[in-house]
Symmetry: C2
Subunit: 653 residues, 2 copies
């Protein structure tokens, strides 16, 4: 690794009104709520969605840890990876301390670290299902066990907690865990030549490597990536030895190898396949390891998978996953809006991947996608009250269809209290509390500002950068760079793909710098006042016409925000509106609506609804009358916070 010539980033304080609200919400509502749920102290109902796994009102996640630690009697309850709900919550709490010191919360999290330490076995192993109920099956059914996935999530939490609080125990647990895995997996004789059914450990070990500098962890992460798919029957053979019928998760054995991204080695895989969250977690691990090792095959795979996702498998909101079967991607350009999946975790994971790709290369597209996730696909996963969550994020929804057409029963039209498989709520919480870590990337020779989330940042040499704006509602972005020591560095500002028109001034003077791979670079040697004016005109978007589902339709975007029509604002059915794309929409910020959102009013023509006595099929000569009307649109992330009803991102035109 080259040492960067650009000043090191030390601290970021988020000042954005938009994000401060979300981050305070997580501190005040989300973390206490989720802690209560995981301690079985909240009065919740669990959504009867396909991931329910028959769970009732209990999470039991903390209880599992207590039982495994010998502090409670009982059996494990829930999914094999139930522990990870706690770890992701712990990680979210750790990040929150950077902007909200909370002694009460700290007491809880310190005790939680103690509990986890007590639960961990002497050899470093930790997975409560196996410790409590299946001690002889450790590492024996990796297709389904999620043991490395589970420990990976602890390692991430432990690293984060150590970084946030200096709690040595939290790091020690992670180190002991990684050593346990290193002792059990690898190419040496006697070790398991395999990998987990769910990628995660690769990115977790990379993060542990970053904090410990222990090369073994990076090497082990690299091993897992290289080993994946080398022996496509690895899981099958393990299952046979373990007892073929003794599944840990019903129906998982029947999933194809592609579901686990284990059908072929990564270097041979040309397109992304399988479970969407596995895809983006794997990609994130690949990007970490590729960067630290320089492995060219891995770097090429990162590019290949990135392009396949972003150019051919991603919804306009950043959501990923076209089918509920296997919660999976399907094939290039297959992006149905009403039967899709678009799991919140996949958008969270895609944010991880984008951030790591920015570390590999200063390419604006990575920042574009990160922004797309932050303001749309990921954020949609949580209600404005912080206590209701989407697992599935559709782009077209209809309560009647969800209730009465079984092919859409996985599409909830109101966020749920909790899930049997509760991976999403805490995953989104940790993204929000750590969003300050997603704003800058310091490359070999530049500071990149790729997100327009207002903040005050401190760098080495007393350099500070203060970004002020009212983004995402306004496009005026101001940078106040203080550089009293006159350090020379490059400052790269992302010009979003949605703003090909922009104005940029430095100390009031227009610049003529060119865009290089999505960034404009300024040579900074003094304190500077930079003003960027982004193009916030409303854009009517279309899909590449290889996408069947969106043909002849338009989605409407303003800045980074993708808009949606909701029945709360517009008389159903929503498909009866034809947007008039030649007319300019009006925009107004409404502080009283949905915690404050920019609202679009779009001219449209609406067909008079046919009577129920109108024949089902008639000649097009008998078209119903069309009336001039207005469609009111709200940001996609804010949908389903009012009355239950239809919603659509793609509109007829």
């Amino acid at each position: 690794m080259k040492v960067s010539t650009a000043p090191k980033l030390n601290k970021v304080e988020i000042t954005s009104d938009f994000w401060r609200r979300y981050r305070q919400l997580v501190v005040k509502e989300v973390l206490p709520y989720q802690w209560a749920v995981m301690n079985d102290e909240a009065d919740i109902s669990i959504a009867a969605d396909p991931q329910n796994n028959g769970q009732d009102k209990n999470s039991h996640a903390v209880a599992n840890l207590k039982i495994a630690a010998g502090k409670m009697k009982g059996h494990h309850y829930g999914f094999p990876f139930q522990d990870t709900d706690v770890y992701k919550w712990l990680e979210a709490a750790a990040y929150s301390f950077s902007y909200h010191q909370d002694a009460d919360l700290k007491k809880i999290t310190d005790s939680l670290i103690d509990l986890i330490a007590d639960t961990q076995e002497d050899d470093g192993y930790l997975s409560t299902l196996f410790q409590i109920d299946e001690p002889k099956r450790k590492f024996k059914r990796l297709q389904q066990s999620h043991e490395l996935y589970t420990m990976g999530h602890y390692i991430e939490a432990g690293v984060a907690y150590y970084n946030a609080t200096g709690n040595q125990k939290s790091l020690d647990i992670a180190v002991k865990m990684a050593d346990c895995i290193d002792n059990n997996f690898g190419s040496d004789d006697g070790k398991i030549h395999g990998y987990d059914g769910h990628p995660e450990i690769e990115l977790a070990l990379s993060r542990l490597y970053e904090v410990t500098n222990e090369a073994r962890y990076l090497k082990l992460a690299h091993y897992f990536l290289n080993q994946r798919g080398q022996n496509p029957d690895f899981f099958d053979k393990q299952n046979e030895v373990d007892g073929i019928e003794r599944d840990l998760i019903v129906n998982m054995r029947s999933m194809p190898r592609t579901y686990y991204l284990a059908a072929e080695p990564i270097k041979d895989q040309q397109t992304v396949q399988g479970h969407a969250v596995r895809v983006v977690y794997l990609c994130t691990g690949m990007a970490y390891v590729a960067r630290y090792t320089g492995d060219k095959d891995l770097l090429a795979a990162c590019d290949r998978f990135w392009n396949d996702i972003v150019k051919r498998q991603m919804y306009i909101t950043g959501n990923i996953g076209s089918t509920t079967t296997g919660e999976a991607v399907t094939y290039d350009y297959d992006l149905p809006n009403d039967t899709m999946y678009g799991e919140t975790c996949a958008s969270v994971g895609m944010s991880f991947f984008a951030r790591q790709m920015l570390n590999i290369k200063a390419k604006g597209e990575y920042g574009d996608v990160l922004e797309k996730e932050l303001f749309n696909g990921a954020l949609s996963g949580m209600s404005l009250d912080g206590k209701h969550f989407f697992y599935v994020n559709p782009l077209e929804a209809d309560p009647k269809a969800s209730k009465l057409n079984p092919g859409k029963s996985h599409v909830l039209t109101q966020r749920a209290d909790w899930f049997g498989c509760a991976c999403c709520p805490a995953n989104l919480a940790r993204l929000i509390t750590s969003v300050d870590q997603y704003l800058y990337t310091v490359t070999d020779d530049a500071i990149l500002s790729h997100q327009f989330i207002a903040n005050n940042a401190e760098f080495d040499n007393e350099i500070t950068i203060s970004q002020t704006n009212n983004f995402p509602w306004d496009g005026e972005i101001k940078y106040d760079i203080k550089n009293h020591n006159n350090i020379a560095f490059k400052f790269g500002i992302r010009i979003p793909a949605w703003s090909q028109n922009f104005e940029l001034t430095v100390n009031g003077n227009e610049t003529n710098a060119e865009i290089v791979d999505g960034f404009i670079y300024l040579d900074i040697t003094n304190s500077e006042a930079i003003e960027l004016r982004l193009d916030m005109t409303t854009k009517f978007m279309r899909s590449n016409n290889r996408v069947n589902a969106d043909y002849g339709k338009t989605a409407i975007q303003r800045g980074p925000i993708v808009y949606a029509a909701e029945e709360a604002d517009n008389e159903a059915p929503l498909w009866n509106y034809k947007v008039e794309t030649a007319k300019t929409p009006s925009y107004e910020y409404d502080a009283s609506l949905l915690n404050g959102v920019g609202v679009l009013n779009v001219k449209a023509r609406k067909q008079v609804l046919d009577s129920i006595d109108t024949p089902l099929y008639t000649r097009i000569a008998d078209m119903p009358e069309e009336k001039e009307t207005t469609l009111t649109l709200v940001p996609y992330y804010s949908w389903a916070n009012r009355s239950d009803g239809q919603m659509s991102v793609w509109l007829n035109k």
Copy 2:
């Protein structure tokens, strides 16, 4: 029942080229092929569709009968209703004797009757699964057993075979069977107060009543209809007594009561629900019994269900069933084209229902729907070679989607050799061999000619009606009525909904008779030469705009034939064409294509396909160029007889 004043119909000989080809195909190819399959003598592969039930290459249907008759050793194999494949085939063969005497086939079918008689138990019971492997569970798990469904299918076959050949044994078996059911079911103490999970016995008993005049059978059919849904937990209680886990068909227990049409009494049910084939079989039984008993509640339910299906739940091709889950209807106006079901059997059953509704009331709509099924939704179930079959009939198909999107895996894009649940192939065969029975309805005071399938028909009093035409390709329909005895009767001719424009002459003179409920009535007293000229212009159709899936699209129809675009004729993707509905399509009959079809060429604009390097989402300002082109369309029933590829009925416009 009033005695009709109209002459009784005695015989119909089909002369239509279109239907003669199909009927010869059934005799020459379909019946021998299906007989070979059911005897496990054909080299077939069974489609890996959701109905497969794990069956391999064997049908075993005839073997089950032989085993139950003690002529072979072994166990039952296949679905509980495997026997019905044989019975429907026998029924198809029986009808074929009316136009093709075949001594070899007759030898086989006579022997089959003997085998069935040998299989039948002394008390009349016949269901090989229970006779061979579960003798203690007879009538104990009617939710899943299909015993009355199975015996109902024999009764239909037995009646048909007796009518066709005079074979008394075939009728005796049916009578004995009905007596067995009558002894076991009914309101009397000690009898089972229940009904079969799958309607069929109701229509079968009605047919037996027609041939025997035995009122007990009609009464029993009426009992089953009235009892249905009166005790919604009937199946649950039976399952408990039988042993809750001892399912006969995996997953059937978890189906909702609506799946079985057993959630509430028929008279209370406002909309159709559940398994589409159960719906139309039940409706057919309802229509029979309503007519014979005059039961007003049943008559009202017939009208209600008919309207709900035809006005709100039917595809333009006549197909029914919007979801693969439970092979079911969903809710009003929910008619997705790519994830739909549209089972061949549902269209066959809808033809039964339509025919019975014509017996209740002379309403052209019933003839319209019957025609729609015969020329589209039902006929699509068989390939032109008679040896390949569709179970599911989609209106939009894409081999890539069927292969790679699990939500469409039930949609085959090429017809299969056979199915694990092989209900459709023989069902369609019996419809085709009996199509002569679907052309005339003799009402209280009129002969109705509601189908334009050329034929020679003989009535009482030496009246003959010869209908000649080249339908469905041409719209000139000629009737030559010979009425040497100068009998006075009304002759009703259906004016199809698709032909609001028409010309009608009697002996060369224009008539000014008005259309009454879809029919024009002529008073006949002499021999007459009638000429009807139907409107065969190509029609661009649309859906009622309450249908989301078809919004902004058009389907193209000429006469009764609904057309489809196939990749065999048009460069994919098919969604990139916009039909120019203002331009007149050209039509030409091509004798060399698909056994002779009328081909439509429609003007269209086609977008140049975006590059794979084009971003997935761009501004609509950057629209791809459109080019003038022509879309070639073939009849829907004939699709998937060439190379595998995309197909679409609804086209962008």
